[in-house]
């Protein structure tokens, strides 16, 4: 007898096949991997004290050359080393903030959507209050109350993003809550927590992933913006936004100072935007063929 082969299609594999066809999305993915590698291995090539923050006033404000491909800043530090180190800062702040917001937002949204009624009403009205405040303003106010350091910045940025995740998780849950497989799970006595995390969230994951990616792009922009106005990451830590803030005063005569940190931000944000777009298309069943 012939062997019967049952081919089980893995949904993630199908999504990957669809994603791979999108050239722009692949470009974004490669860009992101490159940035992550740069961030991970920055410590191998560079010594933080010696190459990144050590001041060398004699060599200040040098235009790009073979020795300093991106030039040097007003303290004589090599801009390339600082931009490379900046990838570490921006990516880690971005990932930590967004996953923190996702985690808390998902719990709030899941509880609100799953239990409905009064709980839902109270939680979502609280989220409305946070949504009604401009997120930059909220982050600025929190940072000024707690003080400008990295942890407080993370908290401030995360708080501003929790409501978006709470909303999207809630609506995703509402859309699958009534489906048969949830009823089935309930009928054999599954606990609420199990139903939410094992049955509902995996089925509602698409929009959540897309939202996470776009949020990563916005968070990196947000961190840079806050650091630029002096309320984010403080010098001498080489954050791209704070580098631009320092460069601003010398902009007229040393415009090269503005170029590399700006391009670095654009590349990082672009990578996440491209991936987000690609994932949205790949996850949309209407575009299947």
């Amino acid at each position: 007898m012939d062997e019967v082969v049952i081919k089980k299609s893995n949904p993630w594999l199908t999504i990957w096949h669809r994603y791979r066809k999108n050239r722009l999305a692949m470009f974004g993915l490669i860009l992101l991997i490159a940035l992550i590698l740069v961030a991970l291995f920055a410590g191998v090539f560079l010594d933080y004290e010696q190459d990144v923050v050590h001041q060398d006033i004699i060599h200040k404000l040098q235009w790009p050359s073979a020795e300093h491909p991106f030039g040097t800043d007003k303290y004589g530090r090599d801009i390339m080393a600082r931009v490379i180190w900046g990838a570490r800062i921006s990516l880690s702040v971005g990932f930590i903030t967004v996953f923190l917001a996702l985690f808390i937002g998902a719990i709030i949204g899941a509880v609100a959507g799953f239990y409905g009624g009064k709980v839902d009403n109270i939680l979502m009205r609280i989220m409305d209050v946070f949504l009604a405040m401009p997120s930059t303003m909220l982050a600025i106010a929190v940072v000024s109350a707690l003080g400008t350091d990295m942890i407080n910045l993370l908290i401030a940025l995360a708080i501003a993003r929790i409501p978006q995740f709470a909303r999207i998780v809630r609506s995703a849950i509402l859309s699958v809550k009534g489906m048969d497989f949830v009823e089935a799970a309930r009928s054999y006595g599954a606990k609420d927590k199990l139903i939410i995390f094992k049955h509902i969230i995996p089925n509602a994951i698409g929009p959540i992933i897309v939202q996470t990616t776009t949020n990563l792009a916005n968070t990196i922009l947000g961190v840079a913006g806050l650091s630029f106005i002096g309320l984010g990451i403080q010098p001498p830590t080489p954050e791209w936004g704070s580098m631009l803030s320092e460069a601003k005063e010398h902009m007229r005569y040393y415009p090269y100072l503005m170029i590399s940190p700006g391009i670095a931000i654009i590349l990082a944000v672009l990578a996440f935007n491209l991936i987000g777009d690609g994932l949205r298309d790949a996850l949309d069943p209407r575009l299947k063929n």
């Binding site: 401009p134 000024s144 109350a145 840079a224 601003k248 902009m251 503005m258």
Partner: protein, 310 residues
Amino acid sequence: MLKFVGKRLLMMIPVLLGISFVLFAIVEFTPGDPAQLILGEGATREEIEELREEMGLNDNFFVRYVRYVVDAVQGNFGTSYRTGKSVVDEVLPRFPVTLRLAFFGIAGAVIIGIPIGIISAVKQYSKLDMVCTITALTLTSIPTFWLGLMLMLLFALKLGWLPATNVENWTGYILPCVTLTAGTMAMILRMTRSTMLETIRQDYIRTARAKGASTRRIVFKHALRNALLPVITYVGMTFGIQLGGTVIIESVFSVPGMGSLMITSIRMKDSPVLMASVLLAAFCAGLVNLFVDILYSYIDPRIKSQYVKG
């Protein structure tokens, strides 16, 4: 309809109360004593204590919060710790500046973004579409402050065509408005394109096409109304937020608007001004959202019929 508007206005009250409470709590956590701030470094402990008593700062948190709300409802938002002027006099002159900036910024974005988005969708996968999509994507990835600085470098510092920071006359608004437009325009373009593409695939569009309607008629008569709804929501939301101050752009171009007022009041721990300006910002955002919902009902008759029933 009137009932609906009234209901929505009433619903803004709890949101504003919530925001004022959160802000009040944040201010409470912020280090620094207002009495010390007003009197300056040289003040004696007795003077500070006396002023604290006079300002009611020694009362319990909730007592002070309730007092703030009661005063605010009567239009009294307190006096600025920084200048000693009434908060209303501090905030109101700033508002028109931000209003102008936000209005022209969003108007430019709508005028450019929506038509190009439509063209891009109708000619999907054409060269033009590719160029528009990639440009829009790149523009959304550029930090506004960097774009602003680059424009300032080119048009103000190198070419000298436009002033870099002065908003005394209209030429000063050009650079900040263009900067503001660029990012919003790119978002609007992307949204218009994607909702338009979704709409074109609907059955009723196919029906219209089968009936032999021209592409022009299909796009403008059948598809546009439906495709524009999410775009309008986005435009309304963005305009609402920008009315509250475009913090970063105002900081780049030193524009004396709401955003820079908020930053100054945060830096100087001028909490009465901060509270009032954030509340005004939230109120504006709420009003714009309400306006968008009303606009919705004119574009989509189905929504209107819901209001009439409810």
